[in-house]
């Protein structure tokens, strides 16, 4: 399983507001596809999917503030 959090952005953000989810739970996703855009201390940034598979679970909705230690979602990765 690939876990996605604010750490996926490659910089330590204490928190961010989820603006837009681009896919829903159960959707297929390829590595590099945009998953979610967030409003951060750097403005609007996007997290791309690190893996190919299925978006298994989304933990926070649009408009919710997430902190650096919280998971945004998990991706059930396809077998190589």
């Amino acid at each position: 399983m690939a876990e996605i959090s604010l750490k996926s952005l490659g910089k330590t953000y204490e928190e961010a507001t989820i603006q837009t989810w681009f896919i829903e739970e159960g959707d297929s996703v390829e590595a590099g596809d945009d998953l979610v855009e967030l409003l951060t201390e750097d403005g609007v940034v996007t997290i791309p999917s690190p893996a190919t598979g299925v978006l298994a679970e989304v933990y926070y909705d649009e408009g919710e503030i997430v902190s650096k230690d919280e998971l945004l979602c998990v991706i059930d990765e396809e077998d190589a």
Binding site: F22, G43, G63
Partner: protein, 292 residues
Amino acid sequence: MTTAIRPRLPGWLRRTLPQPTTEETHEILGRYGLNTVCESALCPNRSECYSRSTATFMILGNTCTRRCGFCAIETGKAETVMTDEPERVAMAAQELGLRYIVVTSVARDDLEDEGAGHFAATIRALRQAIPEGQIEVLTPDFHARVECLQIVTDAKPEVFNHNVETIRRLQRLVRPQADYHRSLRVLAAVKALDASITTKSGIMLGLGENEEEVLQTAADLRAVGCDILTLGQYLSPSKEHLPVVAFKSPAEFEALAGKIRPMGFRHVFAGPYVRSSYHAGEIFHHAHTSES
């Protein structure tokens, strides 16, 4: 590949992942136990500003006695006023190497002077620590009480900023405990108390206003002698806050600014990520060294 199920935010709001470091500014602010509106209000520019060793200090605690629909600052019971805060702000500003310092606060309707004395003490502490510095205050409305405003103006900040935030029609929705005409009276009163102080105000776009209403607000601000105007895009801090009604493009911001500039402001600063304290020092110097 799946397609997006909801529209993206406009492309002009997207930023590439940043590189500059902000740890030093964070460390200094933390060491002096200071709040910033940058962090408390979730400003999308804070990384850029922190990386340039600048921040807008927020005094009088981290809890506001009002509840505005656009603002991410915590609301509720006010905190104890820390009498050493002015000195800590001054020391932090000195260590950050600031020469243009912006100080704002939460609303303190619980205090007899609504925090005016604390603003003045902070200005004086900054003057002592950084004699060559220039100071901008971004204040609540003090209920337009002249006795409170005079406490601040007597400390002679270079800039007195008070935001109307939105057009008259949306005031009750956006800032239910404030008042459009009261805010205009604040700016008028500051000019009457000390005409040498530059006054400044800001409007957020994207809450449902139309162009005519924005132009009227600018005209109303100019009528009370407002010198500098900022216009920025409202971005909703969370689903608990007012939603964004519209996104204005950089071209729309610039077109609007073009219609406002002939009104006679010293400077109009407009753009999606513009905020009332963003690049405040540069704006002040531009306003006083060239035509806007």
